[in-house]
Structures are given as structure tokens and as C-alpha cells.
């Protein structure tokens, strides 16, 4: 019998694979800006897949879709920026 995958199945499999790769990175990779960048992209991509296909916001109300998607642009970007500018952030938040 031929197995047919729909977008939900594909999304689920992609998310599992990315999670396993993340776990592999956690166990093996040394801290590096390249690793941080890859992880940030993986967060953004996972978030987008869940928002578009599990939450079904792909074609839904524009405001909600934009707000939800922007959350997964802003936070991966903040993770990257706070890694790059950690000393400046520490100085900025020292009273």
C-alpha cells in the first residue's frame, strides 16, 4: 500500500528531524557564532511551520498571522544579537 503524506505529516517529520539535530548540536558542538546562527534559523523555521500548518494561520486573519510570525523573527534575532553584543548588554543593564 502506498503511503501518502500530507502537509501535517511532513511538518511533524521535519520538526522531529530539526529537534534531533538540535540535540546533536547540544551534545557535540562547541559554542560558536555559526552554531548560534544555525540554531536561531532552526527556531524561526520550526515556529513558522507550527504557525502556518498546525495553527493554520497560513491564510488566516492578517493581523494575527503577522503578530505570530513576527514573534519568531524577533526572538531568534534577539538570541543572535544578545550573543554578539553580550558585553554591551551587560553594561547597559548594570546599575
Amino acid at each position: 500500500m502506498k503511503m501518502k503524506l500530507n502537509k501535517l505529516d511532513v511538518t511533524w517529520l521535519i520538526l522531529l528531524v530539526i529537534t534531533m539535530l538540535n540535540a546533536l548540536v547540544a551534545e557535540t558542538a562547541e559554542p560558536h557564532l555559526v552554531i548560534t546562527t544555525i540554531i536561531c534559523f532552526s527556531i524561526a523555521y520550526k515556529g513558522r511551520r507550527i504557525i502556518d500548518y498546525f495553527m493554520e494561520l497560513n491564510q488566516a486573519n492578517q493581523t494575527i498571522r503577522r503578530l505570530m510570525r513576527s514573534y519568531f523573527y524577533i526572538f531568534p534575532a534577539l538570541i543572535f544579537l544578545t550573543d554578539v553584543f553580550s558585553e554591551q548588554l551587560a553594561a547597559l543593564t548594570t546599575f
Binding site: 511538518t11 529537534t19 538540535n22 504557525i51 498546525f54 491564510q59 514573534y71
Partner: protein
């Protein structure tokens, strides 16, 4: 047969999203649940910002912290939440196809995944204590317990809402024609999953 039932449904990937009568240019579920979702995401946003600041002030602790955590537990919990979200989406697709029994089955699988998450988290917290990891060990572990315990509470009550959805399908309150409540619960559950999508790499992966 009413208008909704006679349309071609977008069954989460089996068809075209442009024929989905429920979500196209509309608010999935209801406005109230989206107020709750954005409130919860704002709460998690505050946690994430606190994490960034704490990490900037204690880089050594945040570099060594993830190495001491149980990555297997974090990964298993990620699997559990992603899989539960998948089942919730399948349950919504099933109710649209007027298959309430299949919808209940998928929701039950989702609840089981939620329960697995709680069991793994319980094991992980015990494992932490056995390895001398406590909330006051250092600022990384304070953030870890603050974020994960808060998330655990969300998983707990979201699981309860899934059980509520199952009961509503059983008594016939959620049907093919009327299941806004189920859609709202599904969106909330996906939000809980989304929060973990950021928490997992922050605590277990990034150093």
C-alpha cells in the same frame, strides 16, 4: 447539508488552503483565546528577555549550565509536544470531516503526549536533584526552573482543556458544523508548543 459542510475542506494539507472556509482571512477559534495566547506569549517574552540579561551578566554559568542538564529529557519533551500538536491538528481535521470518534482518538493521543511530557519533566527534576542541580545553584538554573516550571503549568492546564474538548465531542457539543471551541483549544495548545520551541534551544542547546 449546510454551506460549511458542502464546501471542499482544507484537511490540513490534503487540499488547498484557499478552500478552507474556517480560517481564511478569519480569526481561528475566537478573539478571547487570542487575547490569552498573546498574553501568554508576552509573559514568555519577559522570561526570554530576563534570560538574555542574565546570560550577559553570567556568561560562564550560561555556558556550562546546558552541559549539566539532561539533554535526553529536553529532547523527549520536545518530541512529546510536537507530536501532541500534530495530533491536535489531526483531531481538528477529523471533526471537520464529521468523524468525531477519530477526533476523540487523536485528542486522546495528544493528552497522552502531554502526560508523557509531565512524566519526563518529573523524572528530569529528580535527575537534577540527584546531580546537585537546584533552583538556587546559580542564575542559569534559576532561569531554567523558572521557565520550565512555568511552562509545565501551561502544559498541565492545556492538557485539561484537551480533556474538556474530548468531553464536549462526546456529548455532541462540538460537531462538524460547530467546533469553534475546539479550534480555540487547539490554538492554545499550539501556543504552548511554540513557547517550548524557544525554551528548548535556550536552555539545552545554546551556550
Amino acid at each position: 447539508m449546510n454551506q460549511v459542510a458542502s464546501n471542499t475542506f482544507y484537511i490540513n494539507g490534503s487540499g488547498s488552503v484557499t478552500t478552507e472556509p474556517e480560517t481564511i482571512k478569519k480569526i481561528p477559534g475566537n478573539k478571547a483565546v487570542w487575547v490569552a495566547i498573546f498574553a501568554e506569549l508576552s509573559e514568555f517574552a519577559v522570561f526570554f528577555i530576563a534570560y538574555f540579561i542574565a546570560k550577559a551578566h553570567s556568561p560562564i554559568e550560561f555556558e556550562q549550565g546546558p552541559l549539566q542538564l539532561n539533554t535526553l529529557a529536553g529532547t523527549l519533551n520536545t518530541f512529546a509536544l510536537i507530536t501532541s500538536s500534530y495530533f491536535v491538528a489531526k483531531a481538528l481535521a477529523a471533526i471537520r470531516l464529521n468523524e468525531p470518534d477519530r477526533s476523540i482518538r487523536y485528542l486522546s493521543f495528544a493528552v497522552f503526549c502531554g502526560a508523557c511530557y509531565l512524566v519526563v519533566k518529573y523524572w528530569e527534576y529528580h535527575w537534577n536533584v540527584d546531580h546537585g542541580i537546584h533552583a538556587n545553584t546559580n542564575s542559569f538554573f534559576s532561569m531554567y526552573y523558572y521557565m520550565t516550571f512555568n511552562h509545565l503549568i501551561h502544559v498541565t492546564w492545556a492538557s485539561c482543556s484537551l480533556l474538556w474538548a474530548i468531553s464536549q465531542i462526546k456529548v455532541g457539543n462540538y460537531t462538524q458544523e460547530r467546533h469553534i471551541g475546539l479550534t480555540a483549544i487547539a490554538c492554545y495548545w499550539h501556543m504552548v508548543d511554540l513557547a517550548w520551541v524557544i525554551i528548548f534551544p535556550l536552555l539545552y542547546v545554546l551556550r
